[in-house]
Amino acid sequence: MNRRKSVTKNRSLSKSPTGIPGLDEITNGGLPKGRPTLVCGSAGCGKSMLGVEFLVRGALEYDEPGVLMTFEELPEDVITNARSLGFDLDQMVAKKQLFLDYVRVERNEIQETGEYDLEGIFVRLNYAIESIGAKRVVLDTIETLFTGLTNAAILRAELRRLFNWLKEKGVTAIITGEKGDGTLTRNGLEEYVSDCVIMLDHRVVDQVSTRRLRVVKYRGSTHGTNEYPFLIGETGFSVLPISSLSLAHDVTNERISSGIPRLDAMLGGRGYYRGSSILVTGTAGTGKSSLGAYFVEAASRRGERSLYFAFEESPQQIVRNMRSIGLNLEPGINKGLLQFHASRPTLYGLETHLAVMHKQIQEFKPRVVVIDPISNLINTGSVNEVRSMLLRLVDFLKSEKITALFTSLSSQGDNSLEETEVGVSSIMDTWLLLRDIELGGERNRGIYVLKSRGTAHSNQIREFLITSKGIDIRDVYVGPDGVLTGSMRLAQEARERAEKLQRQLEIGSKQHKLERRRAALEAQIAALRAEFDAEETEVSRELSQENQLVKQLEMDEVAMERSRRSDKAAEPRNGHKRLM
């Protein structure tokens, strides 16, 4: 990817890509084309391997056949060694992609008398180059000549001639040289090969070794000047460029589930951002790994690949332990979606770890990565080194849009809880803190979202339960007595339930009482009404009787007056009135 860019940038100097992952990025496109490059380093640092891979990749990927002239290793050994990296040199020789020539220099077989030159080597190289049309040449390690031949003056003159001749031939060459005392090579080859010098180093710090590569000089080209860790793995050489640190990653608004619905809810309802880095810190046994396992399991269920780097437990152990909390990781493993990579942190140096992870990630191309835990890496380097390594890793993961979950063990103690031992919290996007809450003679787990960039997240502590049916996140009891968890929360909840029940009962009985009173009242009202009705009918009956009586009397009076023939008959009303 960098290659294209650099080719246009350095039009003046054409380059020959090595095809070695990372190296072409550091050198902005490869080794100087048509010129010799010196690769120096101490014994066992990988010089020969670099040379072999330069040729193999040149032949296979760039269609540039190569000549390997060894001065130390027998061709059979070279072939065997290369086979362990997956290169079949035999076949390449048969296909004329590679020409192997072993130059044997045995001091006790050779007697020197008088003037000579190294034309024999020129002839051999020329023959080799011509016979397969080679574009690349590796001389490994030409300095052996100095031990086989005594006339250093001739050798120096001839080597100078040889390197010039290689330039004239237009082949891109790698010349390896053993590191000397205070000089790049034991015999000062750097004086003759000065276009590009790459130094390999194999350093052991605290019993842990790390391979490093540095481009000491590169005439006419920009190049990375740092020391870069590199690996010689199962598929060859790989250099890990320290990331550009440009902070120009593409971001996405896509969210992915943490595997725990309630945790997703705490993170604004939709989980983590894709491509973000999540840090889970907590003291021992707070469930950090479980969170990681949930995350990869969720990824497997979505059909995404995930890679789990375990620095403490073996994959089988993780699978078994997760099964005990009701999480089955096996379907993901069987489908090839979930891959574990377990190694002890002390197995190799920090840089090598980084390089290994880099390589694994590039090969497996996961969307989710879990590193469990990063705090163990502290054993293999200083805090600064670990931080810079993680920074590079986070950078790399972000540039690949891989969501990464890192767990980190915090040591016991109140103050250190909210800081990681390796001080990486600032480069993380989401930080979940798991902590023990010791209360009422028991420890319970609590979970906070300490920070989560770009999400409206819950600021509350939740109780984090790990049961045989899985992880459960519950609200904690926050009451007048503070935050309660575990059995105290249960007790408090039970108490509250009892109180509630009690209150409900009381309300019930009050309502009942009221009902009864209402019933009684209504009965009373009904009785009174009945009484009133009775009275009313009585009164109205009496009244009508009275009326009838009055009418009767009037009629009687009229009848009497009629019978008396009274003159009052003309004005009965008045008379009646008066009478009344």
Binding site: T113, L118, A128
Partner: protein
């Protein structure tokens, strides 16, 4: 036992039909007619005529013409004299101007003493 004349440009097979064990089968590798090569051939011939008269054979191989032989015979420097017989193989590089060193190289050190005495 025939000299491989077709391989050589200036093949100089002076081998007498000597007894097998005493034959010195020598091969001189050169690359073109350089002064060093010519000097080497002259020096060698002079030496052989003095010390190995009648029981040597010199074959000159020009690597310019037969480059693949450089690889097969493990030649680094030019000129190189290889003593193929008697066994073991010995290699002497240089223009052979130092006769004493050349004799040591050919494991003929006894001749040096003869000469000095």
């Amino acid at each position: 036992m025939k000299p491989k004349s077709k391989r050589t440009r200036k093949s100089c097979a002076k081998a007498a039909p000597a007894e097998r064990g005493n034959l010195y089968d020598l091969r001189l590798y050169v690359a073109g007619q350089t002064p060093k090569s010519l000097a080497a051939f002259a020096n060698l011939k002079a030496l052989c005529d003095v010390h190995l008269a009648g029981k040597y054979r010199i074959e000159v191989v020009d690597l310019i013409k037969k480059p693949q032989l450089a690889r097969d015979d493990q030649i680094i420097a030019i000129p190189t004299l290889v003593r193929r017989l008697p066994q073991p193989i010995r290699k002497i590089i240089g223009d052979l101007c130092d006769r004493r060193q050349t004799l040591i190289g050919l494991e003929l050190s006894d001749k040096i003493e003869d000469k000095s005495s």
